[in-house]
Symmetry: C2
Subunit: 215 residues, 2 copies
């Protein structure tokens, strides 16, 4: 059965998955880009952006694992774009240019209906207005024999965690203090009792933690 | 010059250094004892409690380092005991029995004066009512050529961090979710910009992070 997997979701040592004041100028919130610097060092990232070089090793392996056996994506609307409330006459097509790195169906959670957007390279953004279970069902159908990757942001992951629907949660703890923003492990209610650690390793620059449902 | 060091301060993956409802029944708060289970596996702990056996390795090394070149301790009143407000006719002498594991001067921060308490084995509890700088000055004088170890709890460490007085902060991140309690990295204000990571390693069961003042 298809599994819902979170990969490489970076949080600071003080727990923030994004900085404050997310928007067009700061898609990851103020200071949030510092959570992702470890990614730019990896070979995987270099290849993805058409460069040579980059580091192999643990960080690279975890990054690559996040794209293995994935057949569809789910993300919150803020991960798709900075537009809030009604879409209006926006022609926003995502943060990633004409050819996003997904190459498959991406289901975007929103309260505001929008026609699907077909991009170059096989990515189609579908907009889901009837909740997280519906998005998961649609993504499962689209994924075929593969798993579903759950992107961000923080609020979207929290919704799926609270509902007990996440099968594998990989978090990359970056050893810096942001001081403010959105905390990933917050507002989880009883869901905190439903997860246990399956893996805990450090690359020296980032800690990789995998939490899975308690058996 | 004597340095103020925090060692082996355990926090959960969601950032809590103690559970809720700290008191006589739950000195570490509800669920807080789960933050310390990794300690009980180590050789250092076994020796400290008069047992044989126990694991060597990374966790053991970090635990031992916390008692190396230390000449005095500072702790908050809640780490000394469960009594709040006035001492009254309490004859409380700490959580650790007649012979506490400090074997040196321990400066306890409190708003309520109390005579020093001399224990077996060289530990003397001094009660400091005029603030964290005064406690640090007294501990520095008592420590001679050695460093000062800053114990807990969360609020006490936060006070010293905000004042920029911590020279080495070693936190052990335990990969479990508590869901509530007191977060260590909270209410730090601009002090978050004053610390950077000096070490990040995992034993497989616990992550050890050392934060030091930014150069």
């Amino acid at each position: 059965m298809a599994r819902l997997r979170v990969h490489n979701f970076a949080i600071s040592l003080d727990g923030y998955g994004a900085g404050t004041d997310q928007g067009l100028e700061n898609p990851l919130g103020v200071g949030g880009e510092r959570l992702h610097e470890w990614i730019f060092e990896t070979r995987f990232w270099h290849e993805m952006t058409g460069e040579t070089g980059g580091d192999e090793g643990l960080d690279n392996d975890f990054l690559a694992a996040g794209f293995t056996d994935i057949g569809a994506w789910i993300m919150g609307r803020n991960m798709f774009g900075p537009i809030r409330n009604e879409w209006g006459d926006s022609d926003w097509r995502g943060w990633w240019g004409d050819e996003p790195p997904y190459h498959q169906s991406v289901f975007v959670l929103t309260h505001h209906p929008h026609d699907p957007i077909e991009m170059d390279g096989g990515t189609t953004f579908h907009f889901v207005t009837d909740g997280i279970e519906s998005a998961l069902a649609q993504a499962t159908a689209a994924a075929g024999d593969f798993d579903i990757r759950l992107g961000g942001g923080v609020a979207t992951i929290q919704e799926y965690l609270r509902a007990g629907l996440v099968d594998d949660l990989h978090v990359a703890v970056v050893p810096l203090l942001l001081g403010s923003g959105e905390r990933l492990f917050d507002h989880l209610g009883d869901a905190v009792h439903g997860y246990e650690c399956a893996e805990l390793v450090s690359s020296g620059s980032v800690v990789h933690v995998r939490m899975v449902p308690t058996r």
